[in-house]
């Protein structure tokens, strides 16, 4: 909680100053103004968060800070100064010296940012020697081991000879940070450093960045689309929208009393882990009643579950085995992606399944969907055993179970009009009347908030959020009983995410759907679920009523997950950070990413 003084850590001298920066790309369809009249300063040791949706110009800005706009079609005007160097006018040689020495960058995707053919040691040593040509190789190696140790790579002296593929995503991000640190830069620029990572790993990386900048008195620029990610780690925030800075200021002030409507809107869209299901439902209903005709308000309250009712879906002890080839002596080893999961799901209920990547949540949903055949266990749907049902007999049942996939960019066939895509389930299930299909499709398009006359457009004409609406319409056209949503919003921006979640909540009421909602984002799951299943390495570690699990978690892993979830309140975020440190110290073996 040593926060309030962070802003005054530096001596007030700006290491980064941007004045009146505009970046323009000329395209066939005219000029695109990626950034307009942007100005900000970062003092020594200060942390600045740049927040905005995709297309807000935040990444273009960070690339320009590194001088990486050179050689592209970007046209710059204004002034960028990094540690006294004018990035716009400096020679290429000066820029090369600046990168690494004065400012280092950590990129979004740790999987593709490291060269796969060199050991991490070689890559760090190379970076060091480029900037310290007089240093010996042994010196560089010592330095590399130092920084690897600094970023928390266990046994750095050994691991320095490992190749990138031998590390997990979180570890690779640490290696990249180490590579950035090796020349002791004055500024560390992190562009969405945690977007590709799990919640707990994200928390670890953010903690690491926070610690490093304090210990090394480095300035930190943290770029993200998620306000909650930057909240706990920065002193000042800059909110960008469509290339323009809409709000700037102290993080507490911006988050507690945002002045610009866009910031307010962004804040309202961030899913809150502290808001319960009931609160959220009441809030949504109130908003809806205020907006729509009274007819919509008459929708009955969601059916209360009575325990003697037969469950819609009943999963017993399912396991899914994958064979991994190339074990010792070429033999196959068995790996259980889902290992003995059981639960019941009742009509009208929403079950949230939370877990990190590799926890088996997607495999589980594909088994229920019967895209995979469970190796062991049983799945009963409406009392009927569908565990090993052949595809032919499964087909009529597919009317009742539908799925919304994670990636709206790949779940729609790019060569089919959206009308054809949405109508496909009807056609597959034997409907031949084209006029009827068309009417149904247009009704649904309207229902999910899209223009019905866009029936004949192709998916590429729609944004990510709109595509996810289309995917939802496709899942609903058969009027299913059960809809499985596999990370339906994780590929979307925060504000789009909020709109899609609202839509799902509305549709659940109107169509009386039973939902299984799979996600890695705890806050999102809490808002939509009645009950929660926490999964880890194929097993259920905790299950229960969602408010109960969130307010009184029993299993240490659940506690760890909850402590890792990003929160909006800067002070609460810092409290969580302290809690994480305590947890980590208490059980050092629980996966360091």
């Amino acid at each position: 909680m040593s926060t309030p003084e962070t802003g005054s850590q530096g001596n007030g001298l700006p290491v980064v100053s941007v004045r009146d920066l505009s970046i323009t790309f000329s395209t066939d369809d005219g000029d695109v103004h990626a950034v307009q009249n942007l100005s900000f300063e970062v003092a020594e040791g200060e942390a600045l968060g740049i927040v905005g949706e995709s297309g807000s110009g935040k990444s273009v800005t960070s690339l320009a800070l590194m001088g990486l706009h050179r050689g592209t079609r970007a046209q710059l005007s204004g002034e960028i100064r990094v540690a006294g160097i004018d990035v716009v006018t400096a020679s290429d040689q000066e820029i090369r010296a600046m990168r690494g020495n004065d400012i280092a960058m950590v990129f979004q995707d740790p999987m593709s940012s490291l060269h796969p053919q060199y050991t991490i040691g070689n890559q760090i040593i190379e970076a060091y020697l480029t900037h310290r040509p007089t240093a010996s190789r042994a010196e560089a190696r010592r330095r590399a081991i130092d920084v690897l140790d600094r970023v928390g790579i266990p046994e750095p002296a050994k691991r320095i000879n490992s190749y990138p593929h031998e590390f997990s995503g979180g570890m690779r991000q640490r290696v990249l940070i180490a590579m950035g640190l090796v020349c002791e830069p004055k500024v560390l620029l992190a562009d969405e450093p945690t977007t590709a990572l799990d919640v707990t790993v994200q928390a670890q990386i953010l903690d690491l960045l926070d610690e490093l900048r304090r210990d090394l008195r480095m300035a930190l620029i943290l770029v993200s689309h998620d306000l909650a990610v930057v909240a706990g780690s920065v002193d000042n925030v800059l909110v960008m929208r469509k290339g323009v800075a809409v709000e700037r200021g102290d993080v507490r002030q911006v988050l507690n009393s945002p002045s610009h409507p866009y910031t307010q809107q962004l804040l309202a869209a961030v899913p809150r882990i502290e808001i319960s299901r009931a609160q959220r439902r009441a809030q949504l209903r109130a908003e809806r009643e205020g907006k729509t005709t009274p007819a919509a308000a008459e929708t009955p309250a969601p059916s209360q579950r009575s325990t003697d009712e037969e469950p819609l879906l009943s999963v017993r002890n399912v396991r899914q085995r994958f064979r991994i080839r190339g074990g010792l002596f070429g033999g196959a080893t068995d790996f259980y992606a889902v290992d003995g999961v059981s639960f019941d799901l009742y009509r009208g209920e929403t079950l949230g399944i939370v877990g990190e990547s590799g926890s088996g949540k997607s495999t589980l949903s594909r088994m229920i969907m019967r895209l995979l055949e469970p190796t062991e266990g049983t799945i009963l749907f409406q009392g009927r055993d569908i565990t090993h049902l052949p595809e032919r007999k499964m087909r009529p049942l597919r009317r009742d179970i539908q799925m919304v996939f994670q990636n709206p960019y790949s779940s729609l066939n790019p060569r089919m009009t959206i009308g054809d895509s949405i109508g496909a389930p009807l056609r597959i299930q034997g409907e031949r009347d084209d006029k009827l299909i068309r009417t149904r499709v247009q009704e649904l398009l309207e229902r999910v908030g899209l223009e019905p006359s866009h029936y004949n457009r192709f998916p590429h004409a729609f944004s990510g959020g709109q595509r996810q609406r289309i995917a939802i319409a496709r899942a609903l056209i058969l009027r299913p009983q059960l809809v499985i949503c596999d990370e339906p919003v994780s590929a979307l921006d925060v504000s789009t995410q909020d709109q899609v979640l609202r839509l799902l909540a509305e549709l659940q009421e109107d169509f009386n759907l039973t939902l299984i909602f799979v996600a890695h984002d705890l806050a999102v799951v809490r808002q939509i679920s009645d009950r929660v299943l926490v999964m880890r390495k194929g097993k259920v570690v905790e299950t229960g009523d969602s408010d109960e699990v969130y307010e009184n978690p029993q299993h240490p892993y659940t506690k760890q997950l909850l402590a890792a979830a990003p929160v909006l309140d800067p002070d609460a975020a810092r409290a969580h950070r302290a809690e994480r440190r305590r947890l980590r110290a208490a059980q050092p073996d629980t996966d360091v990413a």
């Binding site: 297309g55 988050l255 507690n256 945002p258 409507p261 866009y262 307010q264 809107q265 804040l267 309202a268 594909r366 969907m369 895209l371 595809e391 499964m394 087909r395 009529p396 597919r398 009317r399 179970i401 539908q402 799925m403 996939f405 994670q406 990636n407 960019y409 790949s410 779940s411 729609l412 066939n413 790019p414 060569r415 089919m416 009009t417 895509s421 496909a424 389930p425 597959i428 299930q429 908030g449 899209l450 223009e451 006359s453 866009h454 004949n456 457009r457 192709f458 590429h460 004409a461 944004s463 959020g465 709109q466 995917a471 496709r474 921006d493 504000s495 789009t496 709109q499 909006l568 309140d569």
Partner: protein, 341 residues
Amino acid sequence: MTAPLDAPESAQHAEPEAIAQGRRDIASRSLTQIAWRRLRQDRVALGGGIVVLLLILVAIFAPLLTHWFGHPPNQFHQDLIDPATQGVLKNPNDPWSGIDPTGGMSKEHLLGVEPVNGRDLFSRIVYGARISLLVAFLSTLLCVTIGTVLGILAGYLGGWVDTVISRAMDIFLAFPLLLFAIALAGVIPDEAFGLSDNALRIAVLVFIIGFFSWPYIGRIVRGQTLSLREREFVEAARSMGAGTGHIIFREILPNLVAPILVYATLLIPTNILFEAALSFLGVGVNPPTPTWGHMLSESLDYYAVAPHFVIIPGLAIFITVLAFNLFGDGLRDAFDPRSTD
């Protein structure tokens, strides 16, 4: 920490995400339409396309063209030939006028005449285009069909089907094709399968070229299918209860049209060259039917007295192959998957 509720209401509609309204006037564009727009801006590809189109028209209307601008392709004009050197005379009325290096190009014979027997070169080139293009198109069609069907099956079904088909591809690619073709030419009867003479020979050419070059396209289709199969829209189709037929024909095949079309366009010139090579080696259609490859092989004996006889069929092949390649390259750029996301 409360967000005022009045502002988001209006701001929400300003969002790019907000529901698109009142934009009916913007017509939907399919990926094919986008590709066509891009192709139209590519002058080189467009030029290639126009030449290809012209060549096809020339082949179709060969009888008309020769009627207007030339002579029947097999008609001898021995009066134009110098009996001593077999070259073309400078002045047909003067047997001592010497050899014309242009091969007797005139209003009468636009591209001159052949040495030895004086057949009209223009007509022979025009008729030769028929054989070249016919064989190239048919063999490309054959290998695209075989390659697409087997490639999709191998890629989508996987398992032993994939193993069998992939090994078959390896075997076909390892086959000493040219030797086989030459050997086959020796044993072709005059009549078989109800076909005779040139029809049979063309069928054999199409078969040889098409049947042995399908693995190239088969591999491409298999690779594309492998990656398409893992896309979520295929999984989505399965989750709706779609059968294998629906997935292959409705979901996967439309996504393969662009790569197949591009590859086929690039395969045609290869097959034209292949046909020319086979004709050059004497495997092609029987003389006196004109083909470019056969003309080239004949011309080599007379290159000293009739250089135009080498150059003109060579140029015909060169221009055709170049035009198809330019067009194919443009097509590939236009369908570039990177810019269609």
